[in-house]
């Protein structure tokens, strides 16, 4: 029990550190996902403390997982557009895909 609480704290710190220090946007997004997982873990461990098992935090975490994937999808789409705008010149390998380099 305590070990999962400690795990949640450590994951939280790792995610926070990555979120603040990573330069690469994709890496920052991965850190954000680790951070959300830490919060979910805390909620589920707390839910397990109660007798009987409290289903409300479980439902909240299920909701949160879907929100996290929505956030990730929108952020990834934005990151891709940013990368297309800022790429100095299209690489030869990228020109095999039509519609990618004329941003």
């Amino acid at each position: 029990m305590l070990i999962y609480l400690a795990l949640a704290s450590v994951l939280f710190v790792i995610g926070l550190h990555g979120l603040f220090t990573a330069r690469n946007l994709l890496r920052r997004l991965l850190s954000l996902n680790v951070l959300t997982t830490a919060v979910f873990l805390l909620l589920v461990v707390i839910a397990r403390k109660a007798t009987p098992l409290d289903p409300v935090p479980h439902a909240m975490v299920l909701t949160g997982i879907v929100i996290a994937v929505s956030t990730t999808a929108v952020a990834l789409a934005l990151v891709e557009r940013i990368a297309l705008r800022h790429s100095p010149e299209p690489e030869p390998s990228a020109s095999t895909r039509p519609g990618e380099e004329d941003a």
């Binding site: 609480l5 949640a8 707390i46 891709e80 004329d102």
Partner: protein, 317 residues
């Protein structure tokens, strides 16, 4: 929990910390993404250890599956085999070891101590006691689609908004599918897709009395769609001749809102179903929500609005 269980938990925690570190800090981005996917899968094991099988299913299907597919395809576009240009994002020097490592460890310790003192939540008895009136036998499903259905409504709303946001960024990139020299993948995709549908239907049906329900079912079906897309299928989500598939994107949200408003107009509270028809209402909501979630996960994977016709030439604004 015996000694074996505690050793297992400790090993699992060490592996998860290592994978999280790799996911945020590995020099190679591909390695970081793969570490994150494995992290999601191991988290599913941790959820099972914490008696949360619903979350384990959702994490394996959505957290590791759908997010992993999104990340890998984004990686394919972002880093066109450019080597390790992002290498060495973080380097430990003397100040790090003296100042930051102790500070971070103290923060983690303080967080753990604070979390340890949190009181246990007390809604378990209330939720279990009201289970008979909810129309389903599984407490988490009852919370999701009856007691706290408003959360689920808003959650599907967020997913719809995400799809709208992604589609409004412009037309989808042309090559959704990798150039595949092997004929195995299309064949495998076609063979596996019925299995995906079957598993999704099973999970959906199971949700009324056991872990399962609309979210894992939708995620599995969406993953099947993504697999078909990777195997070279055309996204016909917007084409006119294939029927009103596009309406399903918002059907889950619309049907839930309809149920809530009808319940409110019939004299009850927002999202109050009469106990007699509650199980039927939840079944309808769950089926539409599951289909919507499947199609929405598929829609955000396209990363842009798909064209009505498959082979028009695209231009980006």
């Amino acid at each position: 929990m015996g000694l074996v269980g505690q050793v297992f938990d400790a090993l699992l925690a060490i592996a998860l910390v290592w994978l999280a570190w790799q996911a945020t800090r590995a020099a190679d981005l591909f390695r970081a993404v793969v570490s994150f996917i494995v992290f999601g899968l191991l988290m599913a094991v941790a959820w099972v250890r914490l008696e949360a099988p619903d979350i384990a299913l959702a994490e394996a299907a959505i957290g590791a599956g759908a997010t992993g597919a999104l990340l890998l395809s984004a990686l394919d576009r972002l880093a066109p085999r450019r080597g390790r240009s992002w290498a060495r994002v973080w380097r430990a020097d003397a100040r790090t070891w003296v100042l930051w490592v102790p500070a971070v460890m103290a923060l983690a310790g303080a967080l753990t101590a604070a979390a340890w003192q949190l009181p246990a939540p007390g809604l378990g008895a209330v939720a279990t006691g009201a289970l008979e009136q909810s129309g389903v036998d599984h407490a988490v499903t009852a919370v999701l689609l009856n007691f706290r259905a408003l959360d689920t409504l808003l959650e599907i709303g967020v997913l719809v908004l995400a799809a709208v946001a992604v589609w409004s960024m412009g037309p989808a990139p042309a090559a959704s599918a990798p150039v595949m020299p092997s004929p195995t993948l299309p064949m495998l995709g076609r063979t596996l897709f019925p299995v995906f549908v079957l598993v999704a239907a099973y999970l959906l049906w199971r949700g009324s009395h056991a872990p399962g329900g609309a979210f894992p079912a939708g995620a599995v079906l969406g993953a099947g769609g993504i697999l078909m897309l990777l195997a070279g299928a055309q996204p016909w989500i917007r084409s006119a001749e294939h029927g009103p598939w596009r309406a399903i994107l918002s059907a889950g949200f619309a049907v839930m809102l309809f149920a809530a408003i009808v319940g409110a107009l019939a004299g009850g509270a927002f999202f109050e179903y009469p106990a007699a028809i509650a199980s039927h209402a939840i079944l309808v909501l769950e089926v539409t929500a599951g289909m919507s979630i499947a199609l929405l996960l598929f829609a955000v994977y396209l990363r842009g609005e798909p064209h009505p016709a498959a082979d028009t030439d695209r231009q980006r604004c």
